[in-house]
Subunit: 334 residues, 2 copies
């Protein structure tokens, strides 16, 4: 049977248990030219919260009654004359939160799971890694010697942003929640400094850790931290707007950045990005990042939880911060 997480009700604020239901259906049969994929892992990402709102955005909202949208990775277990994919191929795409999915292959791509474990392909070599790579290099226009600040720094995107900036010869300061995460950034990922926003006052912590200001701020969180970062910009600074996790579960209107006029004072820019725009260059990026991983310059950490039944609790960890690294749900039953 195929266990699925079905989207039942648009949440206001943080999703509660009535938002989704776990349902069981029969395993679908691939039509002519399709394959059947058995999912091993599902990617859980903050962006999923945005897809639940009935807003115009960069992608249509998830429909009520649909399988919850998510990135995924798994193996072909049946092919009905698919022209390219055969049984045993490892594919990653947008399979949703379910154990099995059929597809004609559009939007999916094959990866070689003999060279790296599957979770890596939905983590640093997948969307979060691509987001970090194109966000900091293309949108952030990173230059050697830049002072780089990144929020959500221990997360799937932020940790890669900071490490790429170190590889490129920058000073890197990360913002994360809790001493353990901050220690991880400095001691294991080689960040120059880390700010614990849970125990430190953000303005004075920035003053201490970025006394010369910031050339690039990579924002995953929005809210007060974005405002504080705006107050520390250097001339011609760039802010990359990648997300705003602090605001996704708001019941009231999003808090706009009060300090935005520092963009004027510092002739700075703030630019938004969506990773899908860079799809044609994913291969090149994966190659370069794969090289860094092999050389030990880029570390990837996944927080893997087990069982599709635990989707709701696991999803909550995206926002509570109770996880280390890229949040992944293992859905294959062994």
């Amino acid at each position: 049977m195929n266990k699925q997480i079905i989207f039942k009700k648009r949440p206001i604020g943080f999703p509660d248990e009535s938002t989704w239901s776990l349902e069981t259906t029969s395993i679908p049969e691939p039509k002519e030219g399709e394959v059947l994929i058995q999912h091993h892992y599902i990617s859980l990402d903050p962006a999923m919260r945005g897809w639940m709102n009935d807003n115009k955005s960069y992608i249509a909202p998830v429909g009520i009654g649909d399988v919850m949208r998510a990135g995924s990775i798994g193996k072909v277990i049946k092919s009905n004359n698919h022209p390219s994919y055969k049984v045993g191929d490892c594919l990653t795409g947008w399979g949703g939160v379910q154990q099995y999915v059929t597809t004609d292959g559009k939007g999916w791509h094959k990866v070689d799971d003999t060279i790296a474990p599957m979770p890596l392909f939905i983590s640093t070599l997948g969307m979060p890694g691509m987001t970090a790579y194109f966000g900091i290099l293309e949108v952030g226009k990173l230059k050697e010697g830049d002072i780089v600040l990144v929020s959500g720094a221990a997360g799937a995107v932020g940790s890669v942003v900071g490490q790429i900036a170190k590889i490129k010869g920058c000073r890197v300061v990360g913002i994360a929640g809790g001493k353990e995460k901050c220690d991880y950034l400095v001691n294991e990922l080689g960040f120059d400094a880390a700010i614990d926003y849970k125990s430190e006052e953000i303005y004075s912590a920035l003053k201490k850790n970025c006394p010369e200001g910031v050339d690039v701020y990579f924002d995953n969180v929005g809210g007060e931290i974005l405002d504080a970062a705006l107050s520390k910009l250097r001339m011609h600074a760039r802010i990359v707007i990648c997300g705003a996790i602090s605001q996704y579960n708001n019941k009231v209107r999003i808090k706009g950045p009060s300090n935005y006029l520092n963009l004027l004072v510092k002739r700075a820019s703030m630019q938004g990005m969506v990773v899908m725009d860079y799809a044609k260059d994913y291969g090149k990026a994966a190659m370069e990042m794969g090289g860094w991983i092999v050389e030990g310059k880029l570390k990837s950490r996944e927080a893997i939880f087990d069982g599709i039944e635990n989707f709701y609790d696991t999803f909550g960890r995206l926002f509570s911060g109770e996880k280390k690294g890229k949040l992944i749900l293992k859905v294959i039953e062994e």
Copy 2:
């Protein structure tokens, strides 16, 4: 004697009469290598409000007890061996709100007041015109066919922004306060449409007038109008942050743009500018804009009020909207 407006007290919110005092001193003598300039006109600009705050900004705040900072234009009436300037030369620079000033010439430049009336050199051929020119062309990266939205559209900067965009083959919508200003934009300056923010609900007015969205938004006002514009961005739109007149007299924290996450949805950017950065290219810009004026493609309107004694009331018109075109104070007594 030299009448001066002296900055006495940093205002909280809108300046009141205790902010400045009118004082009289003797006309200064130019030192060796200096000239004495008699001011004819003083430029009154919204940016002056920002210079009164004791904040870090792109320029030091005006000191208490100093002559109020302002752009100005006047004629050399005495030279003490100045190497370049002689009696009768018309100079524009940062002379402050006073009738006479001495200078070694640094930061001043000579204009030819036989080809255009003096006020034009502190209006469309001065700072506001330069701000419009470099803001829309360089920061806004204007392209033929763009849909351009400009706030403060009947003002010194906005009216030039819109006209340049028309010259470059764009569709232009202006936002201004009151029917008279809106009629002026459409009937005299050739804007495609105008929105009266005083009588129209801004979101529905934008929906009506920019049904396809906006490629470039040139923001002079901030606040709700910036938020509304953010909701109408097209893909890869550019927002030029030139000012935020709606927020300058706030007693509370500036209202940040709640809709800033549309920068992400639309892969758009928001960039600040300060006109001084383009000083080396002023000459080129003045030449091009002068050409447009001669051809009748670019119209300039000045609202000239008379008498340094009326500085306080005249300054208020910057924020009340009770003026048409570039606000100028005539300080020469005839």
